[in-house]
């Protein structure tokens, strides 16, 4: 439930920020990077001819066939919630239910460019309301711990993916660091994850790939950073394992140790050793971690 909701919020953020910030410097708006970000090009071009803004927005918000769309994620979150409805609060279910019904009622008319930013804002708010209700009402037992593990694993996955694609996008112009296009890209990236103002407080005057990637991935105070997610994952897991029902459970910690090691590095060393390899390693470790949680606690194969 938590993972799917975070995914929906992330999609709304990306659509929104691409619409709002990526367009002006290049005149026309390029929507291809979004498709690349989610490795969705193939699925997209199977059903749409051109990556126009209308098509891509439709694909990511209301296309029920796309497993990476907002409607798909919110529906999955709701069906997930339905199966654990007896342990979540009534308010959680009711809000998710209303939210889903609203998202399901959206049509192409609601996706007009003039409305898009407001629409993405409402979607984000819907998810934020959800996580606020969960935080404020969910009984603090194992359900809460697993909810948090899901949310932070998803956030960590998204942030590494996002930085990875921007890194690819910037690769051709790596020499022209500091060009207006480049700055606009990093700017959009920071804003898409609500990191812009935090970043500015730490680095009032600079904007380089190292400081931006370093902040987004490694700042312990930025709530969506890889670093912040990993330390929350660890804390949540440790607390979970103190539960007396789980005394006999042994959890393999190797992927978590890998993640901790990765987040202990300095931004400079990350960039020098290769950002893409770094992000790849992080994503593999996150996948392993998720699989270990499923295998250990839910006896999944």
């Amino acid at each position: 439930m938590g993972r799917y909701m975070e995914r929906a919020e992330n999609l709304a953020r990306i659509v929104d920020v691409n619409e709002t910030f990526a367009r002006d410097e290049q005149g026309a708006n390029d929507w291809l990077p979004i498709l690349k970000l989610h490795r969705d090009e193939e699925a997209f071009f199977e059903r749409y001819k051109k990556a126009t803004s209308a098509n891509v927005v439709r694909f990511y918000i209301i296309d029920e066939e796309n497993p990476n769309s907002i409607i798909y994620s919110v529906r999955a979150a709701r069906e997930n919630a339905r199966s654990i409805r007896h342990v979540i609060s009534l308010e959680t279910w009711a809000q998710l239910n209303v939210f889903y019904n609203w998202v399901a009622s959206l049509t192409a008319r609601n996706l007009r460019l003039s409305e898009l930013s407001r629409l993405c804002g409402r979607i984000k708010e819907g998810v934020q309301l959800h996580s606020g209700i969960v935080t404020g009402t969910l009984y603090r037992d194992q359900v809460w711990s697993f909810y948090r593990l899901g949310v932070f694993t998803e956030l960590a996955d998204q942030i590494t993916r996002l930085v990875d694609i921007k890194y690819h996008a910037l690769l051709p112009s790596w020499q022209d660091v500091g060009s207006p296009v480049d700055i606009a890209q990093w700017n959009a990236l920071l804003r898409s994850v609500s990191a812009y103002h935090g970043y500015r407080r730490v680095f009032p005057a600079r904007m380089t790939p190292t400081t931006v990637a370093g902040f987004i991935l490694l700042s312990p105070r930025f709530p969506r950073s890889l670093s912040h997610c990993v330390s929350n994952i660890e804390a949540t897991l440790d607390e979970l394992l103190t539960n007396e029902d789980l005394q006999d459970v042994s959890f393999p910690r190797d992927s978590l140790e890998t993640l901790k090691e990765l987040t202990s590095r300095s931004p400079e060393s990350v960039i020098t050793a290769g950002l893409h390899e770094y992000l790849d390693e992080a994503q593999v470790a996150l996948l392993d971690f998720g699989a270990q949680v499923a295998a250990t606690f839910f006896h999944a194969d």
């Binding site: 069906e79 339905r82 199966s83 007896h86 009711a94 239910n97 209303v98 029902d245 459970v249």
Partner: protein, 462 residues
Amino acid sequence: MFGGGAHPAAHTDSIRDRMRNMKISTLQRRAQASDRELYNLGITFTVYSDRDAIDRVLPFDVIPRVLSRDDWSHIERGCVQRVAALNRFLHDIYHEQHILNDGTVPAELVLRNANFRPEMKGLDLPHGTYVSICGIDLVRDGQGVFRVLEDNARTPSGVSYVVENRHLMMRAFPDLTGNVGLRQVSNYGMHLRAALAEIAPSSASDPNVVLMSPGVFNSAYFEHVFLAREMGVPLVEGRDLVVEDDRVFMKTTGGLRRVDVIYRRVDDAFLDPEQFNPESMLGVRGLFRAYRAGHVSLANAVGTGVADDKAVYAYMPRMVQYYLDEEPILPNVDTHLCREPEGLAYTLAHLSELVVKPVGESGGYGVVVGPKATRAELEECRARVEQNPANYISQPVIDLSVCPTLIDDSIEPRHVDLRPYIVTGKESWVLPGGLTRVALRKGSLVVNSSQGGGTKDTWVLE
């Protein structure tokens, strides 16, 4: 609300006074808000299509059905008596079979019944309780007599609506519900949990009760969630349970945990692929062995379906006398058994005046209402009855009592029935309320939700 002879019943005076001050438009507004709320809260039954889950709200009428203290105490005593007889009957047919041996109830009616489970013979249940949760459908006839239309002794549903309808009314009509001496229904979960703990195997000191659901695709899934939550017990599916050494365990994140009592909302046939339907994906392999060994209790017990068979139903008044030596407090609706020559002859001669029902079905399936049927339908019905008389009963059309109901912008009489819920562990307790179903179509006597029925909040006064 309006008792015999179109005079409103006296016990509803104060409620009618309050409602008189409300405009129709106020009622309509609140009714719309209530519908919206039911939908938003997901108090719904779910219909699945290939790719979507469609949640439907059971139509809710905001004008409550009000029962006086005297009427209720009569119903309550009658229901407790009826459940006592049902349990004694079930114990008997799965043990000595006195009632069959002395011919009070025809043996083949029970022994050849598809819902009779010979596997249950000789198994002793705690307190002899087979039917822990019973829903008895009552109708009130033209003389004001409450009569039993049907006993639901398998897995009666609908109680979640009773409680949720009340919560809804209290939110939408705080000016109506306050200080009228309304008896509470919100403690149903506590009573149910206590009763289920009472039927636990005696070896369990702090019984672990679970609710077993067929899963999210079941149309009553909301109710399963509701009951698990209200009782504060785990909601499980068959795949969450495992049997080892004739003991039932539930898979948890921390390993296996012993289960003592299962409130199962899964039919007998799907409980255990080892014992019953081998195709069942919903059940637990070995569950029945654990049950026979006395290591787990099931509610309701296996094999209760034979007691709510419509032909067996016809013998209920005699069973009350037979087992309890008491006069039945709640009479049946007159029933003609087509298995008996007089019953068959009467049924075929009066087909157009009678309601004909197949005996083993529930939910209103296969029922033919004579006065409403076309000639072709009647002839088809006649052919089916003649071909297999034992499968049918007939009853007179009961002129069901009516309740004022909000229909568009006016208040009109509509026919209602009532399903009280009786919870039995060591003893029986009746939820002071019940599900009032209302036929929203003008003149209709069919209250089933599949055929234009809705519900009302049922108020029992102190």
